[in-house]
């Protein structure tokens, strides 16, 4: 036997024993693999969710509306080019909504009201909390507008009603009604070239419990046409998926790159979001930690129970002359294989779980932390190996004589 000292054959025998142990004891090992897989599922699933919470829940907090208000600096207005530049700077991925607003005073029944011209679709993204009786307008039929609940009450407007708005075109000055002229003459003057008037239809009535109830919301292009001017916005409301620090960074960047803009974070939303989101993340972290500790321990106990039944086999190997380190290396090999199989299985189940949670709760996919795959597998290999070797260590000290007779 000593004549043939090929290293390969020892290694081959090692793997032969390993595979024999793993394959022929399959029915029992299923339990071990299952235990590890459950642990790995929980680990990878929860950690994935934990990492994605700020992103996912942060987006949910956008339901509070715009968190960055961008004003023009000085008396200038915001042009379409600036709007486009802003959009590019912020980056499409982070924008939940970005709506320009132009406020125009108009007269309805000779009373002053304000029309807010905006991109209705973006406004809708910005303010999901608006309650609309009827429906949001669209850019197809721009004479259909939204009116605030307050205005609707004052003017007695219902869905589908039509009303006339009048006003002075851009750059023209209104001539005051003169007492000495008759109503007809005044009306004629109002219809003159420097004035505009049009009929609008109520498509929806806006309730918010806030200032918006006193506005009429219309398509900004329609409003521009009406008053005979090009695009000029008074303010841009942005809803951006970012926390307070990221927003102030963004604000600084906007000021630097587009100096004609003056961004202002809405502290009420950014500060509050940071507080609440921080708590929620702490909650998920703590829950994750508790769940993980408990899972690890239970994987460990299951593995311990599995290994305990092999005392006799280990004693036999020792009786046959196996050195401790050889027996250890076999258990190690098995532990690595089990940890790997269970861990790999569990990682993918965990990702699947995290994805399902994300789809169910947030209606969005989830970003996987790919580094979790090797990390989870490594963690479970370590647990499995520790659980295999630590209880056996005690057996190591026991005399191989236990294989004789009894016991």
């Amino acid at each position: 036997m000593a004549s043939r000292t090929r290293k390969g054959s020892r290694l081959r025998m090692y793997f032969r024993m390993l595979s024999g142990s793993l394959i022929r004891r399959a029915s029992r090992l299923v339990i071990a693999v299952l235990a590890i897989a459950i642990g790995a599922t929980i680990l990878s699933g929860l950690v994935t969710i934990y990492y994605d919470i700020p992103e996912q829940l942060g987006r949910e907090f956008r339901s509070y509306g715009a968190n960055l208000i961008v004003l023009p600096r000085g008396e200038a207005k915001i042009t379409r080019e600036t709007l486009r530049a802003l959009r590019e700077l912020v980056g499409e991925g982070r924008i939940v909504g970005l709506a320009p607003y132009r406020y125009q005073t108009v007269k309805i029944n000779e009373q002053p009201y304000i029309i807010a011209g905006t991109d209705l679709e973006e406004a809708r993204n910005n303010s999901p909390f608006w309650y609309i009786e009827g429906s949001w307008g669209d850019s197809q039929d721009t004479s259909q507008v939204l009116v605030g609940h307050e205005i609707a009450g004052t003017l007695g407007l219902k869905l589908g009603d039509t009303f006339t708005v009048q006003g002075v075109k851009y750059g023209e000055s209104a001539e005051a009604s003169r007492q000495d002229l008759s109503a007809e003459e005044n009306q004629k003057r109002d219809l003159a070239r420097q004035n505009f008037h049009t009929k609008l239809t109520v498509r929806g009535i806006v309730s918010t419990g806030g200032a918006e109830e006193g506005f009429i919301f219309a398509d900004i292009d329609m409003l521009d046409d009406l008053i005979g001017d090009t695009f000029r916005a008074d303010v841009i409301e942005c809803s951006i998926a970012a926390n307070a620090a990221e927003l102030s960074e963004l604000s600084a960047e906007i000021e630097r790159i587009i100096p004609e803009l003056q961004p202002r974070a809405v502290r009420r939303l950014t500060q509050s979001q940071d507080i609440v989101l921080g708590k929620l993340q702490a909650l998920v972290l703590l829950v994750t930690v508790v769940v993980l500790i408990i899972t690890m321990i239970s994987v460990y106990t299951t593995m311990t129970a599995m290994v305990a039944e092999r005392r006799r086999e280990i004693a036999l190997k020792k009786a046959l002359g196996a050195e401790n380190k050889l027996v250890m290396s076999e258990l190690l090999g098995e532990g690595v294989m089990l940890g790997f199989t269970g861990g790999a299985l569990g990682v993918f189940l965990g990702f699947e779980f995290a994805l399902r949670v994300s789809l169910n709760v947030f209606g969005r996919g989830i970003n996987f932390q790919w580094a979790l795959i090797p990390a989870t597998i490594a963690v479970f290999i370590i647990i499995t190996v520790a659980a295999s070797i630590i209880p056996v260590r005690r057996v190591m000290d026991i005399h191989p004589a236990i294989v004789l007779k009894g016991e």
Binding site: L46, F61, F129, V266, L283, V291
Partner: protein, 424 residues
């Protein structure tokens, strides 16, 4: 003899049974903690969301909301007020307990030098005693938690102090500690600037003072323009939406349910019952968003709870399987001695059950401990213990131990006594 064997197993197989009990303890404590946290999380997060400020505002029914948009307010436009003495009645409504904070607001305009400025009078930090003897602390400070204040917050008694929005302050070069003089309707009053606040919103160009000072300045004794209310509410459902349109459209049963649920519309309805001429409206920006965040958080916790409960259930049943198989030799011996299968099964089940119950009881209390640690660490308050959890956990544990024993029992059934005794 049956019991004797069970007690012997439990005592002699101490370490193995301890292991099962230990896993049961872990599993049950995990499920208990998670379920309690899950059931309590809505309430906790709801309270956290109060940092967003008021979710209900109360105004006079004829006061035009539009006025503060146009910047046209002044005498004649906005001359409808609520009564200050009604404000504390808020706590007397059915859902009074859910009203966490509130503050009356009196808005007006005054001249500061040659500039026309908006002034707000309020309760900064009010300590009040209700007719019922109940004491409460409320005020605007808790409704403006996002404010960044340099200098100090107004204090309740400091009727000669004001806080100034940072835009207005920087325009006029005012610092904390300065004095300013405000005039309105021929009355002139001098105030000390306690602090400069940054609201990040429209208030940044306003002046905040105590309600008595504002009433004095504006000559509106006992009047307030609006009340901001922060209330714990239940997210809206179809019933609440229907009621919000018109409570009278509800059937008596529906009305009862609606009235006795903390929907924002129900609370508004009840506020209107106590505030003369008041119209309470939900601030949809806060109220709606609260609902969204709450339902998402709760759903997330439910799913995590389900995952961890399944995980611990599988872990327990797995360990039971593993440990029963491990004892196959001993159980095979019983079979060789002439025990019927059902006798062995009964024995195994009884052992596992007793271990499970012991572990479950310890685990339940540990779980409550875990839940409180989470509650204290994250929310700084105790999580209420839901009794329902005991039942749920007990039922799950019962099935888990039985199901966990099934593979082991099937294994035992198939076992031939001779195989066992020949030490395979």
């Amino acid at each position: 003899m049956f019991w004797r064997m069970i007690t012997k197993t439990l005592v002699r197989q101490k370490s193995k049974m301890m292991m099962i009990a230990f896993t049961v303890v872990l599993g049950v404590s995990l499920s208990t903690a998670m379920m309690n946290v899950m059931l309590g999380v809505g309430d906790k997060v709801n309270r956290e969301l109060k940092v967003y400020g008021a979710n209900i505002t109360v105004r006079h029914k004829d006061a035009a909301l539009m006025s503060d948009l146009y910047g046209l307010e002044g005498r004649g436009v906005n001359d409808k007020f609520l009564h200050e003495e009604d404000v504390l009645k808020l706590k007397s409504i059915f859902w009074g307990f859910n009203i966490l904070d509130f503050a009356p607001i009196l808005e007006g305009r005054a001249m500061m030098g040659s500039a026309d400025v908006a002034v707000i009078g309020t309760w900064p930090e009010k300590h009040a005693v209700l007719p019922t003897g109940e004491e409460l602390d409320t005020g605007l400070k808790s409704l403006r938690r996002w404010w960044e204040v340099s200098g100090e917050w107004l204090n309740e008694g400091g009727n000669d102090g004001v806080m100034i929005g940072h835009l207005l302050a920087s325009e006029n070069g005012i610092k904390a500690g300065d004095t300013i003089t405000l005039t309105a309707g021929g009355r002139a009053m001098t105030f000390r600037v306690a602090g400069i606040f940054n609201d990040g919103g429209s208030s940044d160009s306003k002046i905040l003072m105590t309600l008595p000072a504002a009433q004095e300045l504006l000559g509106l004794h006992g009047r307030v323009s609006s009340i901001e209310v922060s209330a714990l509410t239940t997210p809206d459902n179809d019933l609440a939406r229907k009621a919000a349109q018109d409570p009278r459209s509800l059937s008596p049963d529906e009305y009862e349910t609606w009235y006795c649920t903390a929907y924002v519309s129900a609370i508004c309805h009840q506020i209107q019952e106590v505030i003369r001429d008041g119209v309470a409206k939900p601030v949809r920006q806060v109220a709606e968003s609260e609902g969204t965040i709450l339902s998402k958080t709760t759903l997330l916790m439910i799913l995590i709870t389900i995952l961890s409960s399944i995980g611990s259930a599988l872990a327990i049943s797995n360990l039971i399987t593993a440990s029963v198989i491990e004892r196959s030799q001993e159980l095979g011996l019983l079979k060789a001695l002439g025990a019927y299968n059902w006798q062995i099964v009964l024995l195994v089940l009884a052992e596992v059950m007793i271990t499970g119950i012991a572990g479950g009881v310890i685990g339940y209390f540990m779980g409550i401990g875990f839940a409180q640690i989470i509650g204290q660490t994250v929310f700084g308050s105790y999580i209420e213990i839901a009794r329902m959890v005991i039942l749920i956990v007990a039922v799950i544990l019962f099935f888990v131990t039985v199901i966990g024993s099934i593979p082991a029992i099937r294994y035992l059934m198939a076992l031939k006594p001779t195989e066992v005794l020949h030490g395979k």
